[in-house]
C-alpha cells in the first residue's frame, strides 16, 4: 500500500517538475526530495502528538508514504530527464492521445527507475521499526522486537526474520522480472532534444500546485513544525557540547558508512551492469536482503557474531559501520549499476586499443563517467544512516551518541523539550545531502 501510494506521488511529482510548465519547477523538485531527511519515527511522533487517535494501520501507511515517496521521485525524475522525447513524439504521430502516450511510452521508459524506487520503498517499509513502534502497529519488525525484549529467546525472532527474508525474495524477484529485456539506453544516433513541456494553466495548475503544497505540508511542515514547537517550549538552556558531539558522531558515522558501503557495492553493481548473467543477477538480489532485514535483526546477528567469533570488534565503530553496509548495500548497488549501465563499454575498448591495461582503462575512462552517479548513491546512504535507529542503538560503541539515539531516548522518556535540539539537528544535517541529491538531478537536465 505504501509502495503504491509512493509510486503514484513520486511518478506524478517527477512528471510535473520535469515535463510541465508549472512555475518554479526546480524549487518544487528540491522541496519534494526534502522529506527524505525526516526520520520515519520523527514523522510518526509529530503525527501522534498532533492526532492522538491515528489508527495504527492507516496511520503507519500514511506516515511511511510521506517519508518514502522521495525514493521514487529521485530516480524517476532523473530517468524522465534522460528519456528521449522523440519516442513520445512518434507515439503522438501514430495517433495515440496524450494520456495513451503517457501510459504507453513515457511510463514504460521510466519503468526501470520507478520499479527500482518502488523496491526500495517496499523494503524500507518491511524493515521499518521506529514509525510502526510508535503507532503500535503489529508488523513483522515490531513482533521481532517484542519477542527480543520479552525473553531474549532468539528463536521467534529468527523465525520471523526468515519470513521477512522470504518476503524480500519474492519482491526482489518480481522487480527482476519487471526489469525484463528492456534497456534504458538511448537507441540510435543524433542529439537528444529537450522535451517540449506540457502547458498547464488555469484550474489544473492550481490543483497541481495545491496538491504538491498539501503533500509538502503533511510530509515536511508537520514534523518541522512539531520540532519548532518543542524548541520554543524548552525553557532550559541546551546542552550545547552534547548536541555538537552528537552532530559530530552522526556526520562521522554517515560519511564512514557511505564510503564503506559504496566500496562494497562497487563490484556487485558493476558485475550486474556489465556482465548480466543469472549469477550476477542473484548476487545483486542477495545484497537486497540486508535492506529488508530490520536493523534490529542485523544488529542482533552482529552482536552474536561479535561475542562468539570476533570479540575485539564487539561494540566498535567498525562493527557499526559493517552493520550499516549490510543494511544499506542495495542503495549503493543500485546507484553503481545505473551509472555503469549508462556508460557505453565501447569507451573502455577504445582505451584498451590505445594501450591501456584493463584497470587503467577503467580508471581513466569509466571512473570519471560514473563518479557523479556513485556519489549520489553515497549521499543517499549517508542520509539513510543518519536516520537509522535500531542498529545504532544496539551496536554503537559505549559513550557514542548520535542525534538519532539522543532523540530516541529523550522521546521515549517523554522529554520533548530535551529532544528538540537533537531533532532539529538531525533534520538540518540530513537536509544537506538530500538537497544535494535533488540539485544534482536538476543539473543533469541542462
Amino acid at each position: 500500500m505504501v509502495t503504491v501510494a509512493s509510486l503514484v506521488i513520486g511518478v506524478a511529482w517527477a512528471w510535473v517538475v520535469t515535463r510541465t510548465t508549472v512555475p518554479a519547477r526546480r524549487t518544487w523538485l528540491v522541496l519534494g526530495v526534502l522529506p527524505l531527511a525526516v526520520p520515519s519515527y520523527l514523522a510518526a511522533y509529530a503525527w501522534v502528538s498532533l492526532v492522538p487517535a491515528l489508527p495504527p494501520f492507516l496511520g503507519s501507511a500514511f506516515v511511511l508514504t510521506l517519508v518514502c515517496y522521495p525514493y521514487v521521485l529521485l530516480p524517476v525524475a532523473a530517468a524522465l530527464t534522460r528519456a528521449d522525447p522523440a519516442a513520445e513524439d512518434v507515439a503522438r504521430s501514430l495517433g495515440r492521445g496524450a494520456l495513451a502516450t503517457f501510459t504507453g511510452v513515457t511510463l514504460r521508459q521510466v519503468q526501470p527507475a520507478a520499479v527500482a524506487g518502488g523496491l526500495l520503498v517496499a523494503l524500507y517499509v518491511l524493515s521499518d521499526f521506529g514509525a510502526v513502534a510508535l503507532l503500535r502497529m503489529d508488523t513483522f519488525t515490531r513482533a521481532i522486537y517484542t519477542s527480543y525484549r520479552a525473553g531474549f529467546d532468539p528463536v521467534p525472532a529468527a523465525v520471523l526474520s526468515l519470513l521477512l527474508v522470504a518476503v524480500t525474495a519474492v519482491i526482489a524477484t518480481a522487480e527482476l522480472r519487471s526489469r525484463g529485456r528492456a534497456r534504458q539506453a538511448r537507441l540510435g544516433s543524433g542529439v537528444a532534444r529537450a522535451a517540449v513541456p506540457t502547458t498547464v494553466t488555469g484550474a489544473p495548475r492550481v490543483v497541481v500546485l495545491a496538491s504538491m503544497a498539501v503533500v509538502l505540508a503533511l510530509a515536511l511542515a508537520v514534523p518541522t513544525g512539531t520540532v519548532a514547537w518543542w524548541l520554543a517550549g524548552s525553557s532550559r538552556g541546551w546542552d550545547v557540547p552534547t548536541v555538537l558531539s552528537s552532530v559530530g558522531a552522526t556526520v562521522g558515522l554517515a560519511l564512514g558508512a557511505a564510503v564503506l558501503t559504496t566500496v562494497a557495492a562497487a563490484p556487485v553493481g558493476m558485475l550486474a551492469a556489465r556482465y548480466p548473467s543469472a549469477w550476477a543477477a542473484w548476487t545483486e538480489r542477495v545484497s537486497y536482503t540486508g535492506f529488508a532485514l530490520p536493523g534490529i535483526v542485523v544488529a542482533l546477528s552482529l552482536v552474536y557474531l561479535g561475542v562468539r567469533a570476533v570479540y575485539p570488534l564487539y561494540q566498535t565503530t567498525t562493527m557499526l559501520l559493517v552493520a550499516y553496509a549490510v543494511l544499506f548495500l542495495p542503495i549503493a548497488v543500485g546507484a553503481v549499476r545505473a551509472a555503469v549501465a549508462a556508460t557505453p563499454p565501447v569507451l573502455e575498448e577504445m582505451a584498451r586499443s590505445l594501450g591501456r591495461r584493463p584497470l587503467q582503462a577503467f580508471c581513466s575512462v569509466t571512473l570519471p563517467a560514473i563518479t557523479p552517479g556513485v556519489l549520489a548513491g553515497a549521499a543517499l546512504v549517508a542520509v539513510t544512516v543518519m536516520k537509522e535507529l535500531p542498529a545504532t542503538l544496539i551496536l554503537r560503541p559505549t559513550g557514542v551518541d548520535t542525534l538519532a539515539t539522543q532523540l530516541w531516548s529523550a522521546t521515549s522518556a517523554g522529554a520533548y523539550a530535551a529532544a528538540a535540539p537533537y531533532a532539529a539537528g538531525l533534520l538540518l544535517v540530513a537536509i544537506v545531502p538530500s538537497a544535494l541529491l535533488a540539485v544534482r538531478t536538476e543539473v543533469g537536465r541542462s
Binding site: 544516433s189 543524433g190 557505453p344 565501447v346 569507451l347 575498448e349 577504445m350 582505451a351 584498451r352 586499443s353 590505445l354 594501450g355 591501456r356 591495461r357 584493463p358 582503462a361 581513466s364 575512462v365 570519471p368 563517467a369
Partner: protein, 360 residues
C-alpha cells in the same frame, strides 16, 4: 610502420549450446602493407564481429589472426588489445566525453615527450587545428569522427580499423570525410581495414574490396576486378547494379531473353547470366537487337535508368543511358543490344533438381 594482416579460417559463434548463432563461418582475409581494404557486406553479415576480433575485443572460436607474421589470436595464444597497437575508429566515434579534444588525441601517447607536438600534427592532419581545447559536446558529428580518427592514428599504429565511420553523417560530409580519411591514413603510412555496407564508399576508398556474406568472405580483389569478374552471382548482385537472367550456355555464348551473349567460358548447360545496366544499349525499334517495350524510366541528371520489357514481356531489364533520353518514354518500341561480355554462372540447384525429385 605498416604491417600485413592475415586472417585465416576464423569462426565465431555467440550464445551457447543449441541457441548458438554462428556469426563468422571461416573468414579468410589478407591485407597487404600500406593498403586500404574495404570489407563490404549487408547488415548482419559479421563485419563488425570480424573487426572486434582483429582489435582483440573478442576471441575467435577457431582460426588464426596474424600481424606481420606475429600471431595475435591463435589456438592457445591471445594478445590483449592494449598490446596489439591497432587503432580503432568505431561507428559511434566513442570520443571520451570527459576529455578535451587534445586530451582525447593524446590518450594513446602516454608519457611521450613529443606528445603535444604529435597532437598538433594529428589535428592538422584531420583539419581540426584550433579546436584542441574544445570539449566533445561542443563539436558536430563530423568533427567528432575526425577526433576519433586523430586519436586512433596518433600512436602511429601499424594497422587502423574503421567500423562504418561515416554511417551517421550526411551525404556531403561523408564524401568529404572519405577523402580526408584516405589521405590521413596514407599520410601516416598505415594499413587500414574499413568495414562498410555502402558499396560506393568501399569502391571509392579501398585498394581492395572483400565482399562478405553470411559470415564468409566470398571474394577479395581490386574494386574493378571484383566488379568486372565477380566470382559468384551473389557477389555480382551485391556489388553494383546487376541483372541475373536465366540462360543456356554452350561454353562460348549464352542464350537469354536479351539474345545470344558472349560469355567468359564455363561449362555448357543451364545457368544464370549476369549483365550490368551500362552494358545494355536501347535504341528505337528498327535495327538489330531483341525487340522490347519501355515500361519505365528513372532520371538522375547525368544519366537515366530505363526499364524495358523483353521477350514475351515477363522479363524486365535495365539499361543505363547517358544524358536525358527524352524519346525513351513508357510505351516506346525499342531494340535492346548487349555490349561486351557477360558473366555466366552454371546453376547447381538446377543440375541437382532431378535428383532431388527422385528423392522425394
Amino acid at each position: 610502420m605498416s604491417a600485413t594482416l592475415r586472417v585465416a579460417g576464423v569462426t565465431k559463434a555467440f550464445g551457447a549450446g543449441a541457441d548458438s548463432v554462428p556469426v563468422l563461418d571461416g573468414v579468410t582475409l589478407d591485407v597487404q602493407a600500406e593498403t586500404v581494404v574495404a570489407v563490404l557486406g549487408p547488415s548482419g553479415c559479421g563485419k563488425t564481429t570480424l573487426l572486434r576480433l582483429i582489435a582483440g575485443f573478442d576471441r575467435p572460436d577457431t582460426g588464426v589472426i596474424e600481424l606481420d607474421g606475429r600471431p595475435l589470436s591463435a589456438p592457445g595464444r591471445f594478445v590483449s588489445p592494449e598490446h596489439r597497437a591497432i587503432g580503432v575508429v568505431p561507428q559511434e566515434g566513442a570520443v571520451f566525453p570527459h576529455l578535451s579534444v587534445a586530451s582525447n588525441v593524446a590518450f594513446g601517447l602516454g608519457r611521450r615527450r613529443d606528445a603535444r607536438g604529435r597532437v598538433g600534427e594529428m589535428l592538422e592532419l584531420v583539419g581540426l587545428t584550433g579546436l584542441a581545447s574544445r570539449m566533445p559536446h561542443e563539436l558536430s558529428g563530423g568533427q567528432l569522427q575526425r577526433v576519433a580518427l586523430a586519436r586512433a592514428l596518433a600512436p602511429a599504429p601499424s594497422l587502423v580499423l574503421l567500423d562504418e565511420p561515416f554511417a551517421a553523417l550526411d551525404m556531403g560530409l561523408r564524401a568529404a570525410l572519405r577523402h580526408q580519411v584516405r589521405e590521413a591514413v596514407r599520410a601516416v603510412g598505415a594499413t587500414a581495414v574499413l568495414v562498410t555496407h555502402d558499396q560506393e564508399e568501399a569502391l571509392s576508398m579501398a585498394d581492395e574490396v572483400a565482399v562478405m556474406q553470411h559470415g564468409r568472405v566470398l571474394q577479395q580483389g581490386a574494386p574493378m576486378e571484383v566488379y568486372a569478374e565477380p566470382s559468384s552471382a551473389e557477389v555480382a548482385a551485391f556489388l553494383g547494379d546487376a541483372m541475373l537472367l536465366d540462360a543456356v550456355s554452350d561454353g562460348d555464348r549464352a542464350a537469354s531473353a536479351v539474345g545470344s551473349v558472349r560469355v567468359n567460358g564455363g561449362p555448357p548447360g543451364r545457368g544464370r547470366l549476369v549483365l550490368r545496366p551500362e552494358q545494355l544499349v536501347v535504341l528505337l525499334r528498327g535495327g538489330a537487337g531483341v525487340p522490347g517495350t519501355v515500361v519505365g524510366a528513372q532520371f538522375f541528371g547525368h544519366d537515366a535508368l530505363v526499364t524495358v520489357a523483353v521477350g514475351d514481356g515477363s522479363t524486365l531489364v535495365r539499361s543505363r543511358v547517358l544524358g536525358a533520353p527524352r524519346h525513351l518514354v513508357p510505351g516506346a518500341e525499342v531494340s535492346v543490344l548487349v555490349r561486351g561480355e557477360g558473366t555466366y554462372f552454371p546453376d547447381p540447384t538446377r543440375a541437382a533438381a532431378p535428383a532431388a525429385k527422385m528423392g522425394a
